[in-house]
Amino acid sequence: MMNCACANEQRNPLTPEPFRLIRTYPLNDDVHFFQVRAVDVKMAMNLNYRPGQFMMVSLDGIGEAPFSISSTPSRPGLLEFGIRKVGNVTNRIFKLKENDIFGVRGPYGNGFPVENMTGRDLVIVMGGLGAVPLRSLLLYALDNRDQFGKIYLLHGARRPDEMLFKEEFFHMMNRDDLICHLTVDQDDTGAWPYETGLITRLFGELKDIDPNNTCFAVCGPPVMYKFVVAEILKLNVPKHQILMTLERRMKCGIGKCGHCSIGGYIYTCLEGPVFSYWDVIHMKGLI
């Protein structure tokens, strides 16, 4: 078991704290759900974060990697991640079993500026793995439902069997405080009950929004941004109200190791991973 060598002292921001895996199950073939909790009860209950922030998950002997938090700070105690098996660290994370202890440090990054988003309508546009970080914002907004205007969820997956949080999002269709549209690029099952086609098709549902009073949050595969942003701009939404969360290589999370630097200016781990479209057009190399 890991012990923190510096308990009660000024915390070393680069050493992980012990966390326990509470439960894990597949969300699809490549992406698994991980619910974790700090071993230290005080830390578990006091861990505060914003939707859109990330944690470094650390496995002794393998290494560390950054992962977006998928749970909401409005439900303290447990942290949730949706992790795609893609490299050394994630291969090992997939082998973890319930009650295994491993390292986590964070939270890092700016997260969504939720204070500036309240009082407005919110449109959440998620594609593929982008559902993981935006689920945090969605659950946060639903938990604080009175602070937001209309909430829209536009969700796209490539195929029905690739969709993440299927059950949870299917239930969202039944809520009357949320306008929810789910689509898949292709329905090879013939049993998909909702829409079919690219996520940009769902923008027809947004004709009546008030562009000046609406915030967009977008996350998805790199190819999605260009087309989705073009659709949002057609609605005359101001550029600083279009928020997107990005990915980069990271080794530290605290703005020192250099890898997540964008155009030499911006450390994604400090000033991101959430950027506005205004940031994107005046900082070269963001997307």
């Binding site: 921001p13 290589r249 605290i254 890898h259 630097s261």
Partner: protein
């Protein structure tokens, strides 16, 4: 700032007297180069040394060091065995670079591995006379007024010793028999003359004024492709640069597969893997992209974040790059001057 005098012939005695302040590091001859090394014998110190091949940063963020070790018993932070040190012989450019590093490693989050070593290190600066690679005069880093505990300026037979901190004051007060508190008008005149002579010896210029705007407009400049064709991606420029600090983190495991350590090692933005994420996507696949990142960072981004470029004119990249791509040449080219790379 208070200044005292120490006779040149007493330098070894003084260095002996300050032994309690930590193990002594200074420039020694190493083949054709100078290297910043632990001093075993005072006669090894080469006060004429200009740039050490690898700068002071290796003492604060070593090329490779364990951050913590892990075993069945738990995790052990590797921060306890850091020795007290005295670095003797840092020149003004390197002291400026060190102040840049200090700011970088404390801003937003304090890096405990850098700062623990830094806090345990006393810095004694030493005056220098430029060679044909120094361009610190035009980067405004050829003089220092802070950032050191003591600074030795060479007069004829003695040193004018500037006392830059309380720790430095303790050092000179510890050996009153070697220290002359009386700085005369003649000493001042000698010092002023020495400064004038030194100023006249700079031959290389690089004025970075206005660079951020020029770099901004040069994003699609053909120079990046051209230099990308030449660059070997060896990373030597980042290793020798006193303001480069990127690092990688890896785990090293013993054969028993349980014990091991998390190790931090120097990385370079010139390396292909630098911006590659799991799954294989590389945000900076082309050499030209990686070069551009480095110079945008040094000449534009740093000015935005810290009000000064991350170049102190030490000349190490000019001395080191095997294909002649150095920050001065790149800067001049971007400013539209004819220089051959």
């Amino acid at each position: 700032m208070r200044a005292v005098k120490i006779k040149k012939k007493d330098l070894a005695k003084f260095l002996k007297a300050i032994e309690p302040f930590g193990e002594l590091w200074g420039p020694v001859k190493n083949g054709e180069n100078y290297s910043l090394s632990k001093i075993e014998s005072f006669s090894d110190i080469k006060t004429e040394a200009l740039r050490t091949k690898i700068p002071f940063k290796k003492l604060f963020t070593p090329p490779e060091f364990p951050m913590y070790s892990f075993s069945e018993e738990g995790m052990k932070e590797e921060l306890s065995d850091i020795p007290k040190r005295v670095i003797f012989g840092l020149h003004p450019c390197d002291i400026h670079a060190m102040m840049i590093m200090d700011r970088f490693f404390t801003i937003n989050y304090e890096d405990p591995y850098y700062m623990e070593r830094r806090r345990k290190t006393a810095v004694i600066g030493y005056s220098c006379v430029p060679d044909d690679l120094c361009f610190c005069k035009t980067t405004n880093t050829s003089n220092v007024e802070k950032g050191f505990d003591l600074f030795f300026s060479e007069l004829t037979d003695s040193y004018l010793v500037w006392v830059g901190s309380s720790l430095g004051d303790d050092m000179v007060r510890g050996c009153p028999e070697l220290v002359d508190e009386e700085v005369t008008h003649d000493d001042l005149e000698r010092y002023i003359k020495w400064r004038k002579d030194r100023e006249s010896k700079f031959s290389l210029n690089m004025d970075f004024t206005g660079m951020p705007g020029i770099v901004e407009l040069s994003y699609d400049h053909p120079i990046w492709e051209e230099l990308g064709e030449k660059c070997l991606s060896c990373g030597a420029c980042t290793i020798v640069c006193p303001t480069c600090s990127c690092y990688n983190v890896k785990d090293e495991v013993e054969l028993n597969t349980v014990d091991g350590k998390r190790v931090r090692q120097w990385d370079s933005c010139m390396f292909r893997e630098y911006s590659m994420v799991a799954g294989g996507h590389n945000f900076r696949e082309a050499r030209a992209e990686r070069l551009k990142l480095r110079f945008i960072h040094k000449l534009q981004a740093f000015v935005g974040a810290y009000d000064e470029p991350a170049c102190v004119g030490c000349g190490r990249c000019i001395d080191t790059c095997p294909v002649g791509i150095d920050i001065r040449t790149v800067g001049l080219r971007l400013k539209g001057e004819e220089v051959k790379v």
